[in-house]
């Protein structure tokens, strides 16, 4: 544990942009968690109010990010939106991993006809342009936070499944898998205890990078009106709600858009560090040095 932490610190020192990514991501997570306690106008944030007199007020000390077409405080709405956007981002990736890992692992480790069948199904999903498939699914499921996550996950998992498949089909011929068979372990145990931990590295890297993209795609769905329903203050939805009035009230779309950009950037920078930490070439190099090859 301590060794891992040290390794992490070293990677951060080599890659200061990663540190920035970590700071961005962790501050957004804290912001999302604490949002309900730091909101100054919770009714505005949840979208329960309508005040004609306060519509389209530009940013000021009273309303840091201005007010929207219903006279609600944009700052409060964006702040509360952090939770939903992060939830969607993490949720989509987690769901995709939950579908993609078992399928890829089974296809790669068992191989044969089962493997071919599973991978052809995966390929069918991969044949669609990803956002297009997500749009079709989201439109079918109807609007809703969970439906949005589900639609995105169903178009997302094949990438993880492929990644795991490739890794698993090479790891299964490693001597330690033979050794596990000789010991007499069950196939399931070999799959999950011996193969899985050795194929996760690239997937973890990919997943970290993907959280940002998932937030972006969820925003895209909401923007198109088939994602999260109003008045939930999801960032994509906020951008979309200010879109028609952007020429006279730019702040309604601008601030949630800025939050999306910064979060996605944060996850990408963090993902780069994770990639460096888990780079198989780097690890192999160290292992080889030990074997004195």
């Amino acid at each position: 544990m301590i060794a891992m932490f040290k390794q992490y610190l070293n990677a951060m020192r080599r890659n200061p942009m990663g540190l920035i990514g970590l700071i961005i991501v962790s501050s957004f997570v804290v912001m999302g968690l604490l949002a309900p306690y730091i909101l100054t106008r919770p009714e505005d944030a949840w979208g329960l109010t309508y005040d004609v007199g306060k519509r389209f007020k530009p940013p000021s000390l009273e309303h840091l990010f201005g007010t929207d077409e219903c006279g609600r405080d944009v700052f409060n709405r964006v702040l509360l939106g952090t939770r939903f956007s992060l939830m969607v981002g993490v949720g989509v990736v987690a769901l995709s991993l939950a579908i993609g890992i078992p399928i890829g692992l089974a296809a790669g480790y068992v191989g044969g006809k089962l493997g071919t069948a599973l991978m052809r199904v995966t390929d069918m999903f991969l044949a669609f342009p990803p956002l297009l498939l997500a749009i079709a699914l989201a439109a079918t499921f109807g609007r809703g936070l969970f439906n949005t996550m589900l639609a995105l996950s169903l178009s997302w998992w094949p990438w993880y499944s492929r990644l795991i498949y490739i890794q698993a089909s090479s790891v299964k011929s490693m001597p330690f898998v033979d050794a596990a068979k000789v010991v007499g372990l069950s196939e399931l145990r070999i799959m999950f205890r011996h193969v899985l931990p050795n194929v996760l590295t690239p997937v973890i890297t990919q997943a970290t990078l993907d959280i940002g993209s998932a937030i972006l795609e969820a925003s895209a769905l909401s923007f198109l009106g088939i994602g999260v329903p109003p008045p939930i203050p999801e960032w994509g939805l906020l951008v979309s709600s200010g879109w028609q009035t952007v020429s006279r009230a730019w702040w309604i779309s601008f601030f949630p858009g800025l939050f999306i950009v910064v979060t996605v950037l944060g996850f990408n920078l963090l993902g780069d560090v994770v990639k460096e930490l888990m780079d198989p070439r780097l690890r192999n190099l160290m292992a080889m040095r030990r074997m004195r090859l």
Partner: protein
């Protein structure tokens, strides 16, 4: 004396596929009719160069690959036709140590967990008993118990191989298969591991099947040795007879390739290097498989492949000129 392990006419062909539809165009005859017996508390070695089929034979015995034909008997029971529960019995009795411990130990599991896992697969023990057993095993292979919480990549080569041995012995097998157990290690560590293996064999009454290309290891450890070439046993017998009176030209060539540290002795010895490379196991030569490279091959050698010819009760040779060969050999 009945044998602990008996291999009868073991054959393993790997299909060679080619073209768009993966048509089988031929077979790699990796193991082509290998038979031998291993008696309890003895060491049986399979030697030969790369591609001779020794590792394939070992993998068949370990049930890691399915042989094309033949029988493998453990205590008289056919290993290839076991029911589910019997497979467990087989695994409990036959364990293996592989060539490179850094590849044969899962790098993501602690030493302790690797050993615990194999104990728990075969025995019902409380956690405290298991833990005590892990410490006993580590002590038995000469490792401090503090190593239990480390991951294999942080060990040295010798330590890692000791862990692999401890894991193999954790379920008290009768038969231990050793696949090049020292060739991935530093020379200084090789001797330690060999000594450990000898000591454990005496203490636990183990039986070894050793697969290696290192003849000095064979000479140090074995009671019986089989020399393989292109999937066939060319000469088999007790270590004294085969090493001191090699009858097969191939065995003679192999033995003369052992490095001789004494320069005076080196001058006295004939070098019997075989010309050329081993032929393809897809298309082995007609007649005797060595005929394409043999220094003494005659026209008789390419007509028919010879059977194993008896030299003594514990020494057989697959060569038609076996009775005269001892005059030519490296034994001088």
């Amino acid at each position: 004396m009945s044998a602990l392990l008996e291999v009868r006419e073991l054959v393993k062909y790997f299909p060679v596929k080619s073209g768009l539809f993966g048509r089988t165009v031929g077979y790699v005859k990796a193991v082509d009719g290998v038979s031998f017996k291993v008696h309890e508390n003895t060491v049986f070695s399979l030697v030969g160069e790369s591609g001779s089929g020794k590792t394939t034979t070992l993998k068949c015995i370990l049930k890691l690959i399915e042989p094309t034909s033949g029988e493998i008997l453990l205590e008289g029971r056919n290993v290839l036709k076991l029911r589910r529960r019997e497979v467990k019995w087989f695994r409990r009795n036959v364990q293996a140590v592989f060539q490179n411990p850094f590849l044969s130990l899962n790098p993501r599991m602690k030493v302790k967990d690797l050993i615990v896992e194999s104990i728990k697969t075969h025995a019902d023990m409380t956690d405290a008993e298991v833990l005590r057993r892990v410490n006993d095993l580590l002590a038995m292979v000469g490792l401090p118990s503090t190593l239990a919480n480390q991951y294999p990549p942080s060990l040295s080569g010798g330590q890692a191989q000791r862990v692999a041995i401890a894991r193999a012995l954790s379920i008290e097998p009768k038969l231990l298969l050793l696949d090049e157990p020292t060739s991935a290690l530093d020379v200084s560590v090789q001797a330690q591991i060999l000594n450990l293996l000898v000591e454990l064999k005496e203490r636990l009454k183990l039986t070894y099947v050793l697969v290696t290309h290192d003849l000095s290891v064979v000479g140090y450890l074995s009671d019986y040795v089989a020399v393989m070439y292109l999937g066939r046993i060319m000469e088999v017998g007790s270590i004294d007879e085969v090493f001191n009176d090699p009858r097969h030209p191939y065995t003679q060539a192999l033995l003369s390739s052992i490095p001789e540290p004494d320069p005076n002795a080196r001058k006295l010895r004939n070098k019997l290097a075989l010309p050329g490379e081993p032929p393809s196991p897809i298309n082995p030569p007609r007649g005797c498989r060595l005929s394409s490279r043999c220094l003494y091959a005659s026209s008789d050698c390419v007509i028919e492949e010879p059977d194993l010819i008896k030299v003594s009760d514990s020494h057989y040779v697959r060569c038609i000129r076996a009775s005269e060969n001892h005059l030519l050999g490296a034994s001088s």
